[in-house]
Subunit: 476 residues, 2 copies
């Protein structure tokens, strides 16, 4: 049986495969730092070489406006013909900077094994995850051809916000055409809690500027006769929530998908309760939209946050100014099927309706990214869920993330495909912090899980994962 | 007749008296600049010498925590016995800095006569006003003793907020005991618009700090479950005004004196209309408490202003932070008989009642000064009004100022006396700006006005100006 052979291959070659990960880690591919531009290129080369050794049909390093994309496409499966789905594997080979260096217990780019952990920058985020995907494929290949076509999209700018990714995908739709995407960058909630992230919130971020008087005024000489734009701003913002904690913008919830009872039960399994969130946030008490649990509010409900406020005098002491301007940074986290452009129009309408004629306003969009939500009964999710259950002996957790990662939304918009988001990083892996690490037992189980995932997809036999055939009756 | 003699004296000696003002102006007594500390002291000495030449009983330079106070007390009137009121003349001998120096058309401390104007720092604010008070007294003295006792309180720290003045008055109550105060630091609305300021608003200035989470949070990971302190701040501030533009703080208006019809008619004479204020403020449209004219709202009604707002991320671009804290600078302009401490308690009660239990708050008082309002039918106001009418041939304007000058409130609180506020500076005198100037024809008429003022007070004969005997039936 091929699965067994493939798992055996990984087991037999674990040490040398881990050494390959260590090789990749040694390349300090920090995308934010200009002096590491060469290292970023070297990491791309290294990955292209690794892919080439995996018997690909094509491996290319493709230019973007910034760091290159490593693209690969496997041969077309058994006897030269893919009969199963095409899986696009996403990853980023760039890493975060290492500051503050003095807090590291060793060289960040010299991997150090200690107990169950491998310490190094990028070990967890996400060179370890890229290598998990490649090693599991390598193991499967060693046992014979799979009836799946694999494609690879490894970018080098994720840690600086993927500024060239949307355009790259848009310009390479055919090259990237696939049935589903595997993105192993979202991680697990604990070593015994295999996790599939099926939704991430989108973002619509604005700067709202109000202008009242032509210059700052003396609050004694004018106060009482001139409308204070800081007061107007506060009144506008106060009007953006109702007493139930809902966003009071007409039309805002029109496209929001309701949570079904079954999904709510699933989310209730997540080990993220009020006590945990209260402690992590350092608040006296949680808050939010009436009728939803905190996990639901973070994952499945849209928000409107004030990210910043600035007006008038903010230094030490007192200055009796009636400010000329007032500014707020406002952002909405969006859930399917909200659209950033539509939320912008809704906010503009609110401002047209509510801003008094004593001040003028401007709403400047600063960032926008749509939400992404995959069906939990899609082929990809079902195949991965069954795979994890096989390795961990339990159903994985199904999670919605409150944050925004644009790749899934880009692929949904531009290629029309769902992503299955997972990964084998853990919350205490110090991603973005000193002493980043990878938990090796979890990583190994992850590789085993991905081997099963590939075979599950192969067994499904179909090139149409959107049909939603479930491999695991329980997680519909 | 003494009045005539006194006026003649001024007329005959105008040039040499003006040269004395120029002497005082040449001392660069900038109180904010440490390198001018010696000059501040020299200006005090100069004034003490000038007073001594005026036949005083006492002249002293009294130490404070900062620049000294020049104190003087005249001999006790005709035949050595004062029978009329004791008048305290207030002034400050310090001046504003001169930056930007390059915008001056000459040396700021070398007085330059050009047409009707005398250009120099301090010419208008307020060395010219101090000298007007002294020269008019000198003129009257030249014609014979007046049955009035004069006291003088000249401070050297007005331009830095009079940090030692309250305590000085408190510690010298007996020395300063008087029946009324003349403060010639408030100016006129135009050369043909003699003005008496009978009220100034007080101030209660606070910093309101809210704290939510223990540190800034990721708005994706926590947004929807954590109460955003910037949002809470906006909601609190929005609740501080009602739809009629009134301050929505319980008890806030309890002590506010109503405007009587007669006073409203008087205020309506002021040449400060909607068009003028709209243009000066540079706004599209005025705003304010329903039921009051702009002039009434600025002078006679209390306010609550947002002087500053600060929270979260305020730089360029977008940062998806859910802020840990939010801060507002809030200040109330107060009118008689509101008290800063009481307004503080009222605001605290509002916060106790309205701040949700998801955040904590702190209200820090930063400045407080009571409002001041003199009776318009007091002896001082009546005497000055009649004097101005005699010189200008028209009734003066009676004005409330929206700003805050603490001296009047201090004297009311500590000595129990009303102040009559006036002066011969004009709105276009560039006080605090380059090319400060004094309009000499107005200054001369002001000196004539003060001569009549002193004689009017003498004629009243009484040591009890609080009795409110009016010298001018019209301005009750």
């Amino acid at each position: 049986m091929e699965r067994k052979k493939a798992l055996q291959y990984f087991n037999d070659n674990r040490e040398s495969l881990l050494e390959k990960l260590e090789e990749l880690i040694r390349i300090p591919s920090i995308s934010t730092e200009a002096q590491h531009r060469g290292d970023v290129g070297r990491a791309a080369e290294w990955l292209a070489d690794y892919l080439r050794a995996l018997d690909m049909e094509t491996v290319e390093i493709l230019a973007t406006g910034g760091a290159p994309v490593v693209y690969g496409c496997s041969k077309s499966g058994a006897s030269g013909q893919a009969v199963g789905p095409t899986v696009l594997i996403y990853g980023h080979y760039d890493v975060q900077p290492v500051d503050p260096l003095e807090e590291w217990e060793g060289d960040p780019f010299e991997p150090r094994r200690q107990g169950d952990h491998l310490y190094a920058r990028g070990a967890s985020d996400m060179k370890g995850q890229i290598m998990a995907a490649l090693i599991s494929l390598q193991a499967a290949q060693s046992a014979g051809d799979l009836p799946i076509r694999f494609k690879f999209l490894f970018e080098g700018e994720e840690e600086i916000g993927s500024p060239n990714l949307y355009r790259f995908i848009e310009e390479h739709r055919e090259l990237l055409a696939c049935d589903l995407c595997l993105n192993p960058d979202t991680g697990m909630l604990g070593p015994e809690l295999p996790t599939i992230t099926y939704a991430l919130r989108g973002l619509a971020y604005f700067e709202l500027r109000l202008r009242g008087p032509s210059q700052d005024l003396h609050s004694g000489s004018f106060g009482g006769a001139v409308h204070n734009p800081a007061q107007v701003l506060c009144e506008l913002i106060a009007g953006l929530h109702d007493p139930d904690g809902r966003v009071a913008v007409p039309g805002f919830y029109d496209r929001v998908r309701d949570l079904e009872e079954e999904e709510r039960r699933e989310l209730a399994r997540l080990p993220v309760d009020e006590v945990f969130l209260t402690k992590t946030a350092g608040v006296k008490k949680l808050w939010g939209e009436r009728g939803y649990t905190p996990v639901e509010r973070i994952g499945a409900r849209p928000t409107l946050e004030v990210n910043g406020l600035l007006s008038g005098f903010t230094g030490e002491g007192s200055k009796t100014v009636l400010p000329a301007t007032a500014m707020a940074k406002l952002s909405c986290r969006l859930v399917a099927d909200q659209k950033p452009e539509e939320v912008k129009r809704q906010l503009e309408q609110v401002l047209r309706d509510r801003v008094p004629d004593t001040v003028s306003w401007e709403l400047i969009p600063l960032a926008g990214s749509p939400p992404v939500q995959s069906r939990r009964d899609s082929l990809g999710v079902s195949a991965l869920s069954a795979a994890f259950e096989r390795v961990w002996g339990k159903r994985p957790l199904f999670r919605r993330e409150g944050g925004t990662v644009p790749i899934g939304a880009y692929l949904q918009e531009l290629l029309g495909v769902d992503s299955v988001q997972t990964g084998f990083s853990l919350p205490d892996d110090n991603a973005h912090s000193p002493n980043e690490k990878l938990h090796l037992p979890t990583w190994s189980r992850g590789i085993e899980g991905l081997i099963h995932f590939y075979y599950n997809l192969s067994d499904s036999g179909a090139g149409d994962p959107q049909g939603g055939r479930s491999l695991n009756g329980e997680d519909k």
